[in-house]
Symmetry: C2
Subunit: 297 residues, 2 copies
């Protein structure tokens, strides 16, 4: 089968054998935003030469801005329930193939705002095959960091923090960005100071201003400022995340983010289990199997 992780900015295609092992993979900067109105053509081109009958897409391709909006499945949900929410699309450009799109997850109700994820659910399903039974907290850092509580094979709670996007906005467009070399190397000492600052009173909107005043008056350099800001933001994210009695977090993500989040979590006394990004293909395989599309081994 073919598994495709099709997000806002990137398309990653994987060719899998009947056991879910990756035979081949391709990656291209043709995200959902760049492919409006020509999804079928782009897909056909990206999987050219792969003749597998089943194609399963996941990520923002199933959102309102994507190919077909696949309704969210409500939490708590097991992989089988996610699989039951998959939608098939008919693609004239790909005759004799089955093309399916995976839904996202949502959490409604409560006093606050709803929660949603779309794309990360495949990585979560991939990791669930590796975790021992019981309760776990997963953290998937990124533009929007996702914190996910699981119990056994059930995805129970979702929590989003806009940490990555806020970092990008502040470093590119704010007054703080003018004093900052945002391409500087990660500075663990400045990062740690930022985490410490986040744990003091005053709140995030106040702590942010300290990036400027420490640059003006306390010798924080342009090279250190980005790491200090990053520490402030991650410190606030972790302080507020649903971490009741939390002693261990499973981190899934890109290497640079994992380094920063690992250091930050350890500053909070939380142990970290690190998992690489490649879980999406495995999760899509799990969902296809639940749907009866793939011959389970």
């Amino acid at each position: 089968m073919i598994a495709v992780d099709w997000g806002t900015t990137t398309l990653r295609a994987f060719r899998l054998d009947v056991h879910g092992a990756i035979l081949d993979q391709r990656r291209v900067a043709l995200g959902v935003l760049a492919c409006q109105g020509r999804f079928a053509a782009v897909l056909a081109q990206q999987i050219a030469g792969w003749d597998d009958p089943v194609i399963v897409l996941a990520g923002m391709i199933g959102s309102r801005q994507g190919w077909v909006e696949v309704p969210y499945v409500d939490c708590p949900a097991q992989p089988a329930e996610l699989a039951a929410g998959m939608l098939q699309v008919t693609v004239a450009e790909l005759p004799d193939r089955q093309v399916w799109i995976v839904p996202g997850l949502c959490q409604r109700g409560g006093q606050g705002a709803p929660e949603v994820i779309r794309g990360e659910e495949t990585q979560i399903c991939g990791l669930l095959t590796q975790l021992k039974l019981g309760r776990h907290v997963l953290c998937l850092p990124g533009t929007h960091s996702k914190w996910v509580g699981v119990d056994g094979q059930r995805i129970e709670t979702l929590f989003t923090a806009m940490t990555g996007e806020v970092f990008q906005l502040l470093s590119e467009h704010s007054l703080l960005g003018r004093m900052m070399n945002r391409h500087a190397l990660y500075d663990p000492a400045a990062f740690k100071e930022g985490i410490g600052r986040a744990r003091q009173p005053g709140g995030l909107l106040h702590h942010l201003f300290g990036v400027r005043t420490r640059g003006l008056l306390s010798g924080l350099t342009a090279d250190q400022s980005a790491s200090y800001l990053s520490g402030i933001l991650l410190g606030h994210e972790i302080s507020s995340a649903p971490t009741a009695a939390l002693t261990e977090v499973h981190l899934i993500g890109a290497p640079m983010l994992l380094q920063a989040y690992s250091q930050a979590l350890q500053e909070f006394g939380i142990e970290v289990q690190v998992h690489a990004e490649g879980l999406a293909a495995q999760g899509i395989y799990v969902l296809a199997t639940h749907r009866g599309l793939s011959a389970a081994p």
Copy 2:
């Protein structure tokens, strides 16, 4: 004398009589950023026809990006100490005039980051002439909101929250902005919901994401989103401001900001005394008098 409030984006000039009353005023969008390298020429032009011998400038004109960097005066400080920190500049284009620039205030030390204000100190000095002795908390909302603790005639503590700038970044450049009509009318009900959300657990980075999910799933309209986001940000600012045993705040600012901050503070059970923006000229007059530049009445 002539008092000039010269900020990042705007120059406001006031002609004052010997009692500090405003005889005439001018306003032009020639801020410090737009006038680099030609401050003397711009000033001469803006005060053309006013032949008063004393000219006192305040605001970002005294910053590193301004005409001359006037060192910050340390808090706690009385108006007389601010006046003692004023610097005179020689201006060939304005012979037979004295041109002075007012310093900003800073607060060093402590475990956190330093604090600074530059520009707001004149409004504070203006208000101090109207306040009863004793302790007061002042709030000056804006791009960077300033909270100032005063005791008698002494400016004791400074606290900055980047609320206005963060609102602008999120509404103009973020994913939230795409779903938002940021020119919509102020919506008191959506604003109140945002304040309520800020007082729930989860932290600011999490609450921000709710602007998106409530738009996706709970019927928050594009017209309501800006007010809801504003409520979240002001709620976080007020929750974290140094408001120990706070029962009353003196608000100084533009009418639209005063409306929002008044509503937000009242939601927190804090009484509000509202003061219009025109205090800068009065404060500059107070400082000039302390410096012996103006004949006190």
